[in-house]
Amino acid sequence: MSGREMLGIALAAVAVAVLACVPLMLGDYGLSLAINIVSYTVLATAWSLFSGPTRYVSLATVAFFGIGAYTTAVFVESLAWPLVLLIATGVSVVVAAIVGLATLRLSGVYFVIFSFGLAELVRQLVTWFEVNKTRTLGRYVFTDITAAQIYWQLLALAVLVFAIGFWIGRSRLGLALRAIGDDETVARHSGIDTTRAKVALFVLSTVFMTLAGAIMAPRWTYIDPAIAFNPVISFTVLIMALLGGVHRLYGPVLGVVPLALLFEYLLASFPNHFSIMVGLVFIVIVYLIPRGIAGLVEGAVRKPA
């Protein structure tokens, strides 16, 4: 490991220690904002773990986030918390593996459309089940999990997603994924089992999304399919990751922080025009900073030489 990487890890450890103290320093509003930011950090980093190198743009984020939230809603009162998280992980692995095997042979725009449809399909299935079987559309999430505990769990999850991302970047799997992103045919001819690599990473990335949803669910106290599977979450994650830059592990978080703050402001100031504003932000980002903030920073560092 190089000296630069050691320094990076040391800095990250300090940052995590400071962030862990946030609930002790902020009031309720500040903490809820912090939870929002860490939650989107997990989602956007997990998203770009898969979509960054492979360039498969997924709009299925909320399908898995919602699966996690619903797992919590169903089991939180009857089972121990670690068991709930374990079930959420298991469900997402099964769903992601099936979906991955079925769809990752699709390429480009077909995958985008499919992933969007998947989120909608899961939402309709849950709705159908709730209406016809349990005969209730919403569920209450009663637990004694506090906001600070939610924050700490999300922070731990964020550390885990960064650690795994760091490991993948240095592993064969990372090289395989970058090769796939460049030219899948050539990757196959280099001996890479492209389907296996893609499915493995897709599953891994969705586990983090699912866990984020499971951990976040107690924040709402009441959920229904429209809340848990709100497609805006998928788009928000996508915009954040693109703004930050998907070519670097630290990229998405650079997009999450400013956008989470901006959306918070827009939602409070222009509640009726929020969607229009988000759309405009999306267009501006894609046109003006296609390589994201991480790309801008690197470009600025390299150029002056």
Binding site: L175, T185, H189
Partner: protein, 243 residues
């Protein structure tokens, strides 16, 4: 001598076009075999069928005794069959070294870490790209991209190397170098099947030539013989009556 590659009854249809029509041939270990034929005769399709880009509609391909027809490309690559592409296809976001590392990491060598990086550098030196290890392929000239693609193919430690017009577009000096490089690979024990139009290269390299026209094999034998074959001349130049 048993054949390294044994092809029988290989066919592939694209809609109404029978691109490869019941093709059969074999390549012995250590040979350099030229696959010739006019444009559109099905040569590249044959390479795609052998290397697993396309599935054959019918027919068998035995490579090192394994039936590989219809198998996925990565499995065929791991058995020791490597190829280059007619239009170069470097992995654009990876440095030259990482391009070569893909073959080392996922092919038969199964190498990773510092040892693999050292091997990658040896291969880059071998094709004359030692100075460009950390360069992105986009900054290389066309010729150097071809060298890179060859290094990446060699990283698979192939027993059979498929070269799709690898010598096309080289100037006379580069052509001489390229021919020398292919000869040295052959000297190392790598069997080579090359699709080529450069006649000088075919004459000086190939032990044997196969000539295709409209998906079928129309001649096979020594380069000088097949190039003098009336049917081959007709395939390339048309009938006297047309001329």
């Amino acid at each position: 001598m048993s054949a390294l590659l044994e092809v029988a009854g290989l066919s592939r249809r694209f809609g109404g076009l029978l691109a490869v029509d019941a093709l059969g041939f074999s390549v012995a270990a250590g040979e350099i075999v030229g696959l010739l034929g006019p444009n559109g005769s099905g040569k590249t399709t044959v390479l795609n069928l052998l290397s697993g880009v396309l599935r054959p509609d019918s027919g068998t391909v035995a490579f090192r005794g394994h039936a590989i027809a219809g198998r996925p490309a990565h499995r065929i690559a791991r058995l020791g069959m490597a190829r280059t592409f007619q239009l170069v296809r470097p992995l654009a976001s990876l440095t030259c070294r990482d391009n070569v590392l893909t073959g080392l990491a996922f092919g038969r060598r199964n190498a990773w870490g510092a040892a693999a990086r050292a091997d990658a550098d040896v291969l880059l030196d071998r094709v004359g790209l030692g100075r460009a290890r950390d360069t992105l392929p986009g900054e290389l000239t066309y010729i150097d991209q071809k060298r890179l693609e060859l290094a990446r193919a060699l990283a698979l430690d192939p027993e059979l190397l498929l070269l799709d017009e690898w010598l096309a577009g080289l100037n006379p000096t580069e052509l001489e170098e390229g021919i020398g490089l292919i000869q040295s690979l052959s000297g190392q024990g790598i069997t080579i099947l090359l699709v080529e139009h450069v006649m000088d290269a075919i004459r000086s390299l190939c032990h044997r030539c196969l000539v295709m026209n409209t998906g079928r094999l129309i001649a096979s034998g020594l380069p000088a013989e097949v190039l003098a074959d009336p049917e081959v001349i007709r395939a390339y130049l048309g009938d006297d009556a047309d001329a």
